[in-house]
Symmetry: C2
Subunit: 706 residues, 2 copies
Amino acid sequence: MARFTLPGETGMEEKIKELVELWGVDAIRDSDGTTLSDELMNLGLNVYSTLCLVRMDNEWIMKHPQYRQQMYLMSERVTADEETVRINIMETIYAEQFEPNDDVDINKYWQVVDRTCNEIIVNWTYEKETTEVIIQNAKRFHQYDVVFLAYQKWEPVSMYNHITNKWTSEHKIPIDVRHKEAGDHILEILEDWLTNHPKTDVVRFTTFFYCFDLIYNQYGKEKQVNWFGYAACVSPLALTGFQEEYGYELFPDDLADNRMYNTPFKNPTKKYLDWMDFNQRFVAEFAKKCVDLVHKHNKKAIMFLGDHWAGTEPYGKYFEMIGLDAVVGAAGDGVTTRMIADIPIKETEARFYPYFFPDIFREGGEPVKESLNVWSKCRRAIIQKPMERMGYGGYLSLACMFPDFIDHVKDVAEQFRFIYDSSDGRGSEKTGIKVAVLNSWGKIKTWQTHQVAHSLWNQRCYSYLGAMEIMAGLPIEVEFISFDDIRKNGIREDIDLILNAGDAGTAWSGAENWIDAGILETIRSWVYAGGGFIGIGEPTAYPNEGKLFMLEDVLGVQKEIGLTASCNKPNREEHLEAHFITKDVNTTVDYGEGMSMIYQASPSATVLDVAKRSCSLVVNEYGKGRSMYMAGCPFNDDNARILFRSILWATHNENLEGKWITDNIHVECNYFNGIAVLNNNSDFAQTVKVEGKVYEVDPYGLKVLE
Amino acid sequence: MARFTLPGETGMEEKIKELVELWGVDAIRDSDGTTLSDELMNLGLNVYSTLCLVRMDNEWIMKHPQYRQQMYLMSERVTADEETVRINIMETIYAEQFEPNDDVDINKYWQVVDRTCNEIIVNWTYEKETTEVIIQNAKRFHQYDVVFLAYQKWEPVSMYNHITNKWTSEHKIPIDVRHKEAGDHILEILEDWLTNHPKTDVVRFTTFFYCFDLIYNQYGKEKQVNWFGYAACVSPLALTGFQEEYGYELFPDDLADNRMYNTPFKNPTKKYLDWMDFNQRFVAEFAKKCVDLVHKHNKKAIMFLGDHWAGTEPYGKYFEMIGLDAVVGAAGDGVTTRMIADIPIKETEARFYPYFFPDIFREGGEPVKESLNVWSKCRRAIIQKPMERMGYGGYLSLACMFPDFIDHVKDVAEQFRFIYDSSDGRGSEKTGIKVAVLNSWGKIKTWQTHQVAHSLWNQRCYSYLGAMEIMAGLPIEVEFISFDDIRKNGIREDIDLILNAGDAGTAWSGAENWIDAGILETIRSWVYAGGGFIGIGEPTAYPNEGKLFMLEDVLGVQKEIGLTASCNKPNREEHLEAHFITKDVNTTVDYGEGMSMIYQASPSATVLDVAKRSCSLVVNEYGKGRSMYMAGCPFNDDNARILFRSILWATHNENLEGKWITDNIHVECNYFNGIAVLNNNSDFAQTVKVEGKVYEVDPYGLKVLE
């Protein structure tokens, strides 16, 4: 029993007592929008209290508006059709969220740019009433835009919940703790709070300061989201501090970055890496002060990973110094589950989807179905990497309207505890294979690649994120390495396979890293000596002399980008070839967005499948090494098999097939202390043969073989 | 009658006399593989004799092998897995076609390159017996290749025909007339020939010297083809001459160009433009000598446009100085028809497909069907731009085995003459709209864009070439302009619409021309003032600061290339919107290869169609101007309507709809001296209403309304 944190709710006392037994609850927590009554606090459960320091004192911040958080925003690009151009900088920005900061010297802290010839404009004025920047003597038919500093008037996560749940309470304003007076004030109110909440056992910080980039548009809808961004840590104070420390100045364009806000999809610039480091150190140091205060009051300090990311970086250099006791995070799929589970800390907790919110817990809603879909993915992940605790969020009263959901959670909790306890917290045995996901970021983006936020579906992402989702639940070790890692240390001995996936030009594929001769040499020689390589989409891609894939010799394929159309390529029939990696596939392979005009480039390659006249599944032998190319790998049971089999094949581990691969693509087999455990990832009952015996596994069932 | 050139064949005398009447033949010609008997020469027809100077004297060239034509070839890239790398330079080259030229100083004229770090290698040796280049002290896992000079042992067009028709005659060797002794010899044999052929009225030169790039691989199959290339004009003599004249040296890499051989799909380099000019002048001057000789003998000199292209450039600066009387060319579709028809010369002749060759004229072959498919496209073109003459090629004896084909040709010839005569050679009236196809080459590539050869189907081309094919048969003026034209002269008054189509990074789209501020200014201001703009595929594209389409404000759309995935884009339903340009379309639009992740970028744009979640048909208003974006435009009757309507709409000529657009997408209406003429482009009978009256038009029929 135990390992379960329940979202409490005043008024639900009797029901909660039942659930404590039924679900095996050992902790209770409040959350945004709910409180805990004294009765709930006195049930003998651990009491978790949610604290969001950054929006904790609205009265104070209203008196000190200069300490509101700030960020650089950008206007739209406006084409000059006359010599005078007026740009309403707030035209596509949510005025409830942001307000231009013209308290500063705007000639220094704002920037007006002619984007047609990349020239910074010096002569312009700002009209506060209309929020317009006016450029005189503009060049006709050049495009102009404005990068401007803006105060955040509404803390964006609070804003999100407010809008989603139609709250009418006051707008919480985020406080920038880098300002000494603000930081001291926050520490003071934290100390007061701790003193006044003796019943709280665990302080659950809603991450710490500075929200990830979340910008709403003029209609109050999401305009831009980057779960991993540092765009919201800006202030003149921070910029000045940065310049003093790093010896150079950051300009508005460096941070607003042409509306890209240094998205992790781009190879990071040196400046941006410095900026991240600068903020990470500040956040870690300040968070440590908070955690130390909590510990001083004999409480535990845990962090919810999800909103105020910037600076905390659980896979970064400064995370451990914060001194947290645990991390809890929202587990929406296998990838986000692993992102939390793999954090180097002694305890992690999954907050499973769905939230008990009225979007799903409404008449006609199907919360059990929603949950099974999420749980089946998260379960794959925790089978490989168990977590210490689980929980849910939202309004318990809503969940209680669905008795089948209450039963379902009992089942989830039992499976969750079984996985942890029967594997002694270690999860399944492993194949011994280690896969390194190679991208421009490496370790710091562990399980954070190929997504804009919360593993949300995105047309440019799902064909790659699927591969991560698959690997999150395979009995392999997965780590994330960067090109710099290879430059510094070569490829470590324990790595068996390198996987590179993404669109050409992105940080996930690697962009200009692929014309570094050293990188090419190292990877080629490593594969040649027996290493495995998997490329998905546009791997090893950088357009160079008419070619795109720089490791076409390793991959055996190349992509026609329009410059070598004069070179003949063989016509290909659409036909799935038999091979170790396609053995379980009886259907058309789903490559997601897929690719066009991929052609065989090495005679040694074997084309296993062609889609839309383009080679979509290809294996190659390179020296003693092997490679697999796939045009895209969205998550489904077929692709899970193809990818797992490819990993076995490319690492010369075909002999592991018998132990690890069942005869039913929907059922996976893992081993806890020698005992085989079957998980059915489908919503149908499945039969599967293991060591000659046939078993039936319930829909989404977990079956332990004795 | 007349306007018809018949391919004669000894032994077919009686049949030919019949056909002279039936088809209205006024000229007879020999061709590769056929001769004309005295009887045929004396039928009172004009006698055309085919001369291919470049392969005219095999005996002589075998005695002077140093004057064989040469070109730069490239080996494959070889990855060094040891310190010694051996590269068989002929590994993937057809040994019957080429032989390495190591008579020259190979250290000067060959080049060995480390492509991994782009370094020229100095220490290497060549082993003649194995045709291997040996590199010592190679860097392990770098890739190496060799650019080497090679003699052409077999003239490639002769080779093509030889292989296709399984000829067993001797291999014709091409003579490089730039060598004075060779050139003088050719002029001598030409003079002799002219003296000895008094019955010849017209000398039909098979273009002139230097074949377009046609390289066969080790299996005797086509490896690389570029109909418009200058890769085959290379010799130490030419390179030396070039250096003397231009003051700089061309290196092997400049011409072999990393296996791309300066394909026109690339933006041309200054060096390559110089090289083209250098060869154009030589070819024009030498061809003029030949033409002058022909004229001296009171014969006409015409050129067949099709094989030995390099240097002749009918839309180039030097073409007119050659002094030809006519050009004849292979008309395989509307685009190639217009390429010939539009040449600035007083007479052009179409040689229609199919050739009377055994590939089609065989038992079970359907030559009429083949011909109708070609003819219906060519007819659209000549309705707009009539040609003076027509003809066929190949073995007449084969054609005569198909009586229905004989009847069909009668019909074609009558339509051909009708189109010319009833329009006084001017073709249809026009709408008055002029479309400029903007690309990096401009006029010199008139009707030569978006193709590798002969309008052959190519996966990277057909989605763009379709738009050219459509325009070849529309009642509009089409010209081809370059970015340099705009830089020098702005956009001329008479241009109503600019069309830009192609893959990003290619010369057809324009590549880096799109970050020239002057170009952007000029086009934006011109559209804003009322101009029309059509973009297909990846127009105005150059990746810059996370954006791809540089004129997103004009087009109203942008393409997500993976760096701005964090910015939200609206989800789109697949639904064809009603609009002037989609009025005739009742089916799913075929965008060919299409695009992915095109999203609306301007609020003023209207998305008319979405395919694969990507905006595929979009119109926009920009000032007084209008634009249309289409994801791809393969040739079919639906797309012909969409494109024609888009041209009318974008140029504010919707009022022309009534006159020019019929109520049946398969039937077009044109006007010869005020008389309406309907052409049915389908193989079914079609009914169509014109000015209130309903007409039936036969399958592929041409119907004149009185």
